[in-house]
């Protein structure tokens, strides 16, 4: 094993352990913070794979923006700090079975398919900002432009749902 592989495996263990803690912890805010750890470890995995831009996108969008959004989402509710017992539902055994079965199938298939596939991480040019930029603006302009409509729709949708001036019809059911 090379140094990069050892680091990758260690990061993978951190990501997995943090992910398990996210779903098992009884404190909502801690779940969000464990999620930060999991996302961070995954970002570091991307770095080891020389997917530089993706790694920093992971940090900027997921560790940064999405977790902030999650924490604000928790703060919007009246959820208390501290342990909450109703975070676990009675479906817990079923969920475990489904999760383990899904993971089993996927891991088996991936290991059987790519188990002996090795990628030469030599020159990290495709994963850099300029490599991805060249790909987007040469081959994937259409999805990129559609994405602007998607982001705008998300923005307008979020704003319209948070507007407080949309009231019920005055004269009963219209």
């Amino acid at each position: 094993m090379t140094a990069a592989e050892i680091v990758f495996v260690l990061l993978g263990v951190v990501a997995l352990a943090a992910a398990v803690l996210v779903v098992t912890t009884r404190q909502l805010v801690r779940a969000a913070l464990y999620l930060v750890l999991s996302f961070g470890a995954i970002a570091a995995c991307f770095l080891v794979l020389t997917a530089e831009l993706v790694a920093w996108v992971q940090v900027l969008i997921y560790v940064g923006a999405v977790v902030v959004l999650l924490l604000f989402g928790i703060m919007l509710t009246r959820a208390p700090i501290g342990p909450t017992s109703d975070l676990d539902s009675r479906n817990r055994p079923a969920a475990i079975v489904v999760a383990v079965a899904t993971a089993g199938v996927l891991v088996t298939v991936l290991v059987r398919g790519f188990g002996d596939a090795y990628v030469d991480l030599g020159e990290p040019s495709t994963g850099s900002a300029s490599g991805i930029g060249a790909n987007i603006f040469r081959y994937w302009v259409l999805p990129f432009e559609i994405l602007s409509v998607l982001l705008l729709a998300a923005l307008v949708g979020a704003i319209v749902l948070s507007r407080t001036d949309i009231g019920p019809p005055k004269d009963g059911d219209g």
Partner: protein, 123 residues
């Protein structure tokens, strides 16, 4: 220390050094300081006034919109980085410039809308 892994190895090393520094400083602090807690000292510090109520306050939905704006424009920024490295490269030119400004134009309409609806004001 050069090359891709060398550069990031340096970053990792710096992270480790930082973590060790904080740990050593705090541990030394704990070992050297006197510890005489009283109930007053253990109270949450709130600008010198006795704390009132719990530590949890439900926030307004309007703050959520600001967070959401942040997410949308973070995604926007993510595309600006790769664009900035290539748009001046040979073979891209005006078309790529225009494509990015179409993208930004669509999002700018979102800001315009938010401003028109008064979402951006603190009143």
């Amino acid at each position: 220390m050069h090359g891709y892994f060398g550069a990031y190895g340096l970053v990792a090393l710096l992270l480790v050094v930082g973590a060790v520094f904080v740990t050593v400083a705090l541990t030394a602090n704990r070992l050297l300081r006197p510890a005489r807690p009283t109930p007053q000292k253990l109270l949450t510090y709130e600008c010198g006034v006795d704390p009132v109520g719990g530590g949890w306050a439900q926030s307004y939905v309007r703050y959520y919109v600001f967070t959401f704006l942040y997410v949308v424009f973070a995604v926007d920024a993510v595309f600006l980085f790769p664009w900035a490295t290539v748009f001046a490269a040979p073979g891209f030119g005006v078309a790529t410039l225009v494509e990015m400004f179409v993208f930004l134009g669509f999002l700018a309409v979102g800001i315009l809308y938010a401003w028109r609806k008064g979402v951006l004001s603190w009143a």
